[in-house]
Symmetry: C2
DNA sequence: ATTTCAGGTGGTACTTTATGTCAACTGGTT
DNA sequence: AACCAGTTGACATAAAGTACCACCTGAAAT
């Protein structure tokens, strides 16, 4: 079971690495390290969470670099910034169609894979004149932990 | 036309004021001023945008107060923080079901009133164990201005 | 294997966005 | 007009993100 997960995340890592190459980005230690984290985690970490996880492993890793690499990954479409009401960016390396649930209390974000909620189209001619490329559905509610305790945690 | 809008926003203001009273909040100058702004604007301002608009009108208004009042309004359900991939909170005083379109380039946020996109239910038993209370759909694309010019603006 | 250099990184400084604290003030009630 | 719980202003601080520039490195060419 655990080894299945390991398998799946290293498979995901290889795909991300390939995507990186395909976009003409050099595979630096720092980028590999970030791709590893992103492939393993499914909790949609913030830039600072990723930095905190990696700074001990990757000697001399700079916070600036983490922000910059994440920006690059988003720009080339390898990773996305997910929408939430929180005032910080969270990143997701799974570009397949899926949705997110945000805990109102502690801010945790979980995936929801359920194609029943997929939209069947996009708005074409809306009154605001925007062209629409894509969408995200953000559900909100309470995570299992916050359902039990009625008080605040940190994500 | 313009007076219709004025009419509509003052109507909205009165509803918000009533909601404030109903929640047992005192109607201070500062809260009224914020409700006014929120009733008039449909651009989903950030806390600092509201502060910048109000600080000249409301003598001695404090930035802290703006943040605190918005928090309170969200807590009592008078206003909502909308979901977007941007790392800052945007506020919306329209609590009716509608959707948002965010410009990928400049960050502007517009409303989309189109019930065709409303979901017909919420996820009940999802694998992550979250209870789900509500949802938001965030579309992304380009605003009319950014469609013309291919370069960056500030919202 | 060595050289080369465009692209990438580290470190520092800085801005923007948000929160914590507490004395002083005020809306609404008596 | 007096009271006081709730609210505010000012300041300090934290958290999140950006700008800048000298130096370094991945990977392509030789």
């Amino acid at each position: 079971m655990n080894s299945d997960l390991k398998q799946a995340s290293s498979e995901k890592f290889r795909r991300l690495e390939a995507g990186c190459r395909a976009s003409g980005l050099s595979l630096t230690h720092q980028r590999r390290a970030l791709l590893h984290c992103l492939a393993q985690r499914s909790d949609h970490p913030t830039a600072d969470q990723l930095y905190d996880e990696l700074k001990s492993d990757v000697g001399g890793l700079s916070r600036t670099t983490v922000y910059r690499i994440l920006d690059t990954f988003v720009r080339v479409g390898l990773v996305s910034k997910i929408s939430s009401p929180q005032a910080k960016a969270r990143f997701d390396a799974d570009m397949g169609r899926h949705h997110h649930i945000v805990c109102e209390q502690c801010g945790k974000v979980a995936d929801l894979f359920d194609s029943d909620f997929n939209l069947r189209g996009l708005p074409e001619n809306n009154s605001s004149g925007f062209t629409v490329h894509n969408y995200e559905i953000t559900f909100n509610g309470l995570c299992p932990l916050c359902q039990k305790i009625g008080k605040e945690n940190e994500s």
